[in-house]
Symmetry: C2
């Protein structure tokens, strides 16, 4: 990467642990590609240091912003000065911009990155029926972004159905009129199936649904990046489905977070 | 420079303003040369944010340490958990190491860097007579380091003589038996003349002493790095003096601060 000088704008990734994150590599590549004199560094902050860190971030005058990941995505909402509607609705944020006056503005790009990735690959979810597997933080963000993107029908399937129902209610409150409900993990009749569980990251994980029910009518989408070809995607291909890789979400999230933190307009505020 | 990952150790340079500092370039080159997975970034903190920043630094678990410069060198003493004897004696510090438990340990390398630079160029000040021009922060640090290095006689010349006298008293308190006094800016009879004023940085600056009094017996040393050849050094050469460039101080300071912040033993704790 290019040389850091006293004039280089500084960005961070706040996480605990932090050694495993890939954010420095991808965001520094983004800055370089955009010709920005900026650098992103890992910032290892545990829960007990989060409040002190946020107080200091307001005083770091050359800090442009930072990305936030596990375990802080929900906790930072109360530490920022401004929180986007999306982050408020989802109950979590993953990027913070520091304004010139020190104010910290939070937004959430997990779901938007996924939806932008779908669109870029020619799979706009507008008007489509989507089965979303999982009810964790990623699922909540994706459900919200799908609703904003005009999904026709959204079903959320989760082992603990009450957690799916919670997301349903959050989405209905944030996007009035959204057609969203808790449902079983049965892909029949859906245009798009999205795995937003962590099943598939580890060798030997169970599949997140009964793959024998998949048909060529389904597009099967992952958010897992590693391995790129999860057991679910392999099974989906064998059933004749089209597939959508997890890395598309990351690619588009990087662009959105980079633009947000550097104060550029997002290309598509809707998605 | 090499790629930054989540495992890269982070260092900083804390200053206000910060855009003009050269520390990122020189310390990042040092890290690379030493094969360390570390990066130093500028941290722009004004006086009103210093305390909050230091609180947060204790919580940044992958922060190795940071360099401190104008205007914070004196103020940080009360914000650190441990302060070296040298920093305490000089009343200022310019480098802080963060220990694994979050404790912040401060030390001062301005004077030591200068003395190490002198030694490396074959001009050990031990037993020599030195005329030090100026009574600011740099002069205070250099006076202390010269006394520790066993200077034979040290005279400090400053327009406001009471400021020179203050340094004399500090050095005498810190290094009992040191032969140090306030004096006029007359280089006759000294082995080494050191310019620790800022005169010479700007075109048209007055000279810090009457150069017609210089003789080939004097070694004339600068701490100004830019321009490399100050008007004083040019005049000294014309008078037949040997000269010693400002960059030697920086070179040795970088090595000392790099070793200190990364927890390596300093080569020479005396100097």
């Amino acid at each position: 990467m290019k040389e850091i000088t006293g004039a280089t704008r500084v960005f961070g990734i706040v996480a605990d642990p932090v050694a495993q994150v890939r954010t420095p590599q991808v965001l520094n590549a983004y800055f370089e590609q955009e010709g920005l004199d900026a650098v992103l560094v890992p910032l290892h902050v545990a829960k007990d240091g989060l409040e002190a860190a946020f107080k200091a971030f307001r005083h770091l005058r050359n800090l442009g912003g930072f990305i936030v990941t596990v375990p802080h995505k929900a906790d930072i909402l109360k530490l920022c000065d401004e929180v986007s509607d999306a982050a408020r609705a989802i109950g979590a944020a993953n990027a913070v911009r520091r304004e010139a006056d020190g104010r910290l503005v939070a937004d959430m790009f997990d779901g938007r990155g996924f939806v932008e990735g779908l669109k870029a690959e020619g799979h706009s979810p507008a008007g489509k029926s989507v089965l979303l597997l999982g009810a964790g933080g990623a699922a909540a963000a994706i459900a919200h972004a799908l609703a904003l993107a005009g999904v026709g029908r959204l079903s959320i399937a989760n082992r603990t159905r009450s957690k799916a129902q919670e997301i349903v209610e959050r989405v209905q409150a944030a996007v009035p009129g959204a057609n969203v409900q808790a449902a079983d993990a049965d892909p029949r009749g859906y245009d798009i199936v999205v795995n937003a569980t962590s099943l598939g990251m580890k060798e030997g994980d169970a599949l997140p649904l009964d793959v024998s029910l998949l048909s060529p009518a389904n597009l099967v989408a992952e958010i897992i990046m590693k391995p790129e070809m999860t057991a679910l995607l392999q099974a989906a291909q064998e059933q004749g489905c089209r597939i959508h890789l997890g890395r598309h979400m990351l690619d588009h999230q990087v662009r959105l977070m980079g633009r947000f933190m550097t104060g550029q307009p997002l290309d598509d505020k809707q998605a």
